[in-house]
Amino acid sequence: MEFAWSKDDQEFRKDLVAFLESELPDDWQEISREGPGSDAQAEFSLGFCAALAERGWLTPHWPTEYGGNAAPSWSHAVLGEELWSRGEPRGPQYMNVNWIGPTIMEHGSDEQKALHLPAISEGRVLWCQGFSEPEAGSDLVALRTSAIADGDDYIINGSKIWTSYANHADYCFLLVRSDPESSRHHGLSVILLPMDSEGIEIREIPSVVGKRYFHELFFTDVRVPRSCLLGEEGEGWKVVSYSLQYERVGAPRYARATVTLDRLAELARQKGLLDDPTVAEKLGRARAACEAARVLSYRVIDQRAHGLPPSADTNVARIAGTRVDKLVGDLALELTGSSGLEAGTFANANFKLAMTAGVAVGATEVQLNLVASRMLGLPRE
């Protein structure tokens, strides 16, 4: 065992921080104020990611043939920490580099790799994730949106819901049922759907957590060429399982929570509250939880670095990460009082982010079920 950052990773972090300090504009907080789905943030992410890409920092852990530097997985963790803790200036593009690109690398045709991977590693494309449906949330494999082969094409019908970033996306990573007779995990396929295809309608679902958070997508006879199919027809579940392992640990929530907590402590100090034992105790407990989430996250990255197969440790890390988000989000309101109820304030933004943490990317209860069955070997209910 070894719990230190390598020299290379330390160098990388130093360079990255210097870059972020000079490159992230002073009004970045203002740009990100309306949340990750806003026009301002989507536009900003394109310029920002291109600048990252220029330095090879958008996809450093990717193989060189796909626009990476073949850097170890740890450099990706450094990136995730530094960017997520600054409010994720990559916007939706963190999904591209975390799991969409890697899935295309693993399951894509040469043509798909050539089309999508450079665009992702150069930071010039926005994706959204079309998995959930009104009747298929936690039970994802209940999905019904269909893509039926028709000559050289597929014809897509159905709807998706909760789709973040759909309003700006160029492509949708779409999970469909390609065999209408199939059920559950069988007969699913993944379509890399160009969002400018005819027959797609997008509706925003208004929310209490921010503007443009959720969308509903409707597909009416959307026709796409067979070349949009990722992997084998009917093997969609295998493809998506691969994606989910990357997605679930994707966002280092602990990194943002840690930075937020430091800011809250500073705020408490300014108000003369840091000597108040009730305040200090809460901060201390939250800090410890952040550290726990961090070390669990590192554990998963390390498994990946060793080329080990995905395990329930991913779910463990994910659960710990959402917990600290919640803990720190609540603490932010508690310490700022009713000022934190005002939209756009630091406390408000963190509280709202934390509100959805236990549901986005799969409900905590479902993650707990996976820990119970895969890690503890418990029987099903």
């Binding site: 959930s132 039970d139 209490v208 009730t278 000022s339 939209a343 509100m355 549901v359």
Partner: protein
């Protein structure tokens, strides 16, 4: 001891619920927000019509009617909250009624000079009751040029300038501590109503929401969470009633507020978590009650401050 409603209380609640089902409810709350967001003239996010209806029917002044008191006002405060009424009913029917011996014809806002930050209904209020250290101040017909902050936690709220707070008349013979105790009761009663409604709404939703070929409410892990919520709501509800029946003694009010605001944390977290993504949308009614819980939780410094005041009242003899 008698935990059952007497016939007069039963009739009172029935009548109030009839009025509320007509004049309040989540559809009405949604409409108020929509008009307010659209910048509609005269729409200030406050339900003046509902308030008038409650006044005219005699509900606001119920605590001052012979044979009735703060308990009835408290039960009604919860009823208004269950129907997501956006009015300062508790501040008026409980706090103003007990402090001033009269109710106010219009919105009432409660503030504490030690707690800066936006205050519910500050811009709409025709009467401000302000705890200023040991003293209680009253400001009637305050300056009307306050602007609400941009917020979506269920109530219009605005920040009160310090000069305005200091300008009020001191109410002689009534201490700020008494006002804080009544405020703790009023906020708790409102939170109880929000929690009851949020919980039953969530239970109904989960009974009907099917995943994995069964109702989500049929999972034992989910049932335990909901049952735990019910335990907290029931304890808050009965603490509120008992405290109200005794006219909000300081220690009981602090205990009620401490426990109720802890319950509010659990109810907010679990009803949202168990509802999934739909619970965060404004197309699902849950937020009408839960977002308000966050506002109520922060009043008077929140559960932590309530607990500290309770400990002081109980074990040292300070004024809370």
């Amino acid at each position: 001891m008698d935990f059952e409603l007497n016939p007069e209380q039963g009739a009172l609640l029935d009548a109030a619920e009839t009025l509320l089902s007509r004049s309040a409810g989540t559809a009405r709350a949604e409409q108020l927000v929509a008009l307010y967001d659209a910048g509609e003239q005269s729409a200030d996010g406050y339900d003046h019509d509902l308030e008038r209806a409650l006044n005219d029917a005699g509900f606001t002044g119920v605590a001052l009617v012979d044979g009735m008191g703060p308990l009835e006002a408290t039960l009604l405060t919860s009823a208004v909250a269950r129907q997501a009424g956006c009015v300062s009913f508790g501040a008026n029917a409980i706090v103003a009624a007990q402090l001033l011996g009269r109710t106010i014809d219009g919105p009432v806002a409660l503030a504490d000079t030690a707690l800066p930050g936006p205050v519910r209904f500050a811009a709409q209020a025709v009467c401000l009751l302000v705890a200023d250290g040991e003293q209680l101040r009253i400001i009637e017909a305050p300056a009307t040029d306050l602007v609400d902050v941009d917020s979506n936690f269920g109530y219009p709220m605005a920040t009160l300038p310090a000069e305005l707070l200091a300008a009020g008349d001191i109410v002689e013979g009534v201490s700020a501590h008494r006002m804080r105790a009544l405020w703790q009761l009023a906020a708790s009663a409102e939170a109880v109503g929000c929690m009851q409604a949020a919980l039953s709404f969530t239970i109904e939703y989960l009974k009907n929401r099917r995943q994995f070929g069964r109702s989500i409410a049929s999972f034992q892990a989910v049932q335990h969470r909901l049952a735990n919520c019910a335990v907290m709501v029931e304890s808050a509800r009965w603490l509120c009633a008992e405290t109200a029946a005794h006219n909000a003694p300081a220690e009981a009010a602090a205990a009620t507020a401490t426990h109720t605001m802890e319950a509010a944390t659990l109810l907010f977290d679990d009803t949202h978590q168990l509802s999934g993504a739909i619970g965060f949308t404004t197309e699902h009614a849950l937020h009408h009650w839960t977002m308000r819980l966050q506002t109520l939780k922060l009043e008077l410094g929140g559960a932590g401050a309530h607990a500290l005041s309770l400990a002081r009242l109980r074990w040292t003899d300070a004024e809370g």
